[in-house]
């Protein structure tokens, strides 16, 4: 028995991630193909994959709709003017690609609450999930903008280029995330 199996025995089966379905494809195959995809984005688009800046892009565009002068006066939006760009279409593409993968693979979920969340917080914990998801998004966006990227931009693109800052950020994602996740699931 490995040390990681013993850790599992403490967990209740409905709140054990391993009691739910695994990935459709081998994570190594998927990882290798994402690696190859990064070659293509560098070669054909002169870009590294990143997801978080697009949310800021949309935030800036919405801000300009309601408070144009104020939005344009902010340091971040002065340096990163909201516009339709490669990063934004990439994020829209993720949505489309995921839908195709889930649809063809019979994995469309169409649900507001993930089953494992329901097992921990109740089948009707919509408000709680709404708050956690919104607060999580808020913190992630703030952290990604301050830290310079997210799990894609730092965690894959930055680390594969051996950027010191990206390795620091990627390690901190997990250092920050592990204790909060363990608190949430009472481990």
């Amino acid at each position: 028995m490995t040390p990681l199996t013993t850790l599992a025995l403490a967990a209740d089966s409905a709140t054990d991630p391993l009691s739910y379905s695994g990935p459709a494809w081998s994570p190594y195959v998927v990882g290798a193909l994402i690696g190859v995809l990064s070659w293509l984005t560098f070669y054909f688009s002169d870009k590294a994959i990143g997801a978080s800046s697009s949310y800021a892009n949309v935030a800036g565009a919405l801000g300009r709709l309601f408070a144009r002068r104020h939005t344009d006066s902010l340091e971040y939006f002065r340096k990163n003017q909201p516009k339709l760009n490669w990063e934004l279409t990439l994020v829209v593409g993720i949505l489309i690609g995921s839908f195709i993968a889930a649809w063809t693979g019979g994995e469309i979920t169409d649900q507001w609450l993930p089953p494992m969340w329901q097992a921990r917080f109740g089948a009707h914990s919509y408000t709680l999930r709404m708050i956690a998801a919104f607060a999580g998004g808020l913190l992630m966006a703030f952290g990604a903008r301050l830290g310079g990227g997210c799990t894609s931009g730092h965690g894959i693109s930055g680390t594969l280029q051996l950027s010191v800052g990206s390795w620091i950020a990627a390690i901190c994602f997990f250092l920050g995330g592990i204790p909060v996740a363990m608190l949430l699931y009472g481990i």
Binding site: L4, P17, G22, P23, W25, V30, G31, I34, G35, L37, Y43, S45, D46, I49, S53, A56, V58, A59, E75, N85, E87, L90, V91, G93, L95, I96, G97, S98, A101, T109, D110, Q111, P114, A132, F134, G136, G137, L139, M140, F142, G143, A144, R145, L146, G148, C150, T151, I156, S157, G158, Q161, S163, V164, G165, L175, G177, I178, M182, L184, I187
Partner: protein
């Protein structure tokens, strides 16, 4: 993530289309890799399901080898983000806490939404508000946190003063060894 436009890019419309195509491939792969699933993502942070680490580790090895070889052949430019130790650390920890609450990160959130996890819509809303909130204080962070430990475009081989080619080779072997260890020690 900002990179300056280069002369190689031919046509903005073509690049927008390419972005969507690359995004669709990325989203397809993320979904097939299971990282749009709530339990797999939170399972990684609970140290029960190591799918995320396996996907990331393999992507790093394969991506690194190809990108560096193409770079040495003069085919691609690198886009190394600036190392700002203070901002990377504090931003990274805040990001991690948010990641645990939502369980979806910015890229996998769109994967989750694409496969029908509708709670990802609240993450989108939170990300937009959080981005604007950061912009509100970005004048302040620029003169404080973002200045702490600002080392510019620093890479690991530069830090250890090792030539890039041997470093990349050794590093690839090290990450592969880590992946083999993960495969042996983890259930999933």
């Amino acid at each position: 993530m900002k990179s300056t436009a280069s002369g190689k890019v031919s046509g903005a419309g073509r690049q927008l289309l390419l972005g969507m195509v690359f995004g669709a491939i990325f989203g397809f792969l993320l979904q097939k890799g299971g990282v749009g699933k709530y339990h797999i993502l939170i399972g990684q942070l609970l140290l029960r399901d190591f799918t995320v680490a396996k996907v990331m580790g393999t992507a790093i090895v394969v991506g690194m080898l190809g990108v560096f070889v193409m770079h040495w052949m003069g085919l691609v430019k690198l886009h190394v983000k600036a190392t700002r130790i203070g901002a990377n650390t504090i931003g990274g920890l805040i990001f991690g806490a948010g990641f645990a609450l939502s369980a979806y990160c910015p890229g996998t959130n769109m994967t989750a939404l694409g496969q029908g996890n509708l709670d990802a819509l609240f993450v989108v809303a939170g990300m937009i508000v959080g981005s604007y909130f950061f912009a509100e204080v970005s004048g302040l962070t620029k003169d404080t946190i973002e200045k702490w430990g600002n080392r510019g475009e620093l890479t690991l081989p530069d830090l250890f003063r090792i030539p890039h080619k041997p470093f990349v080779a050794v590093f690839a072997v090290a990450v592969l060894a880590g992946l083999v260890a993960l495969a042996k020690l983890t259930i999933r």
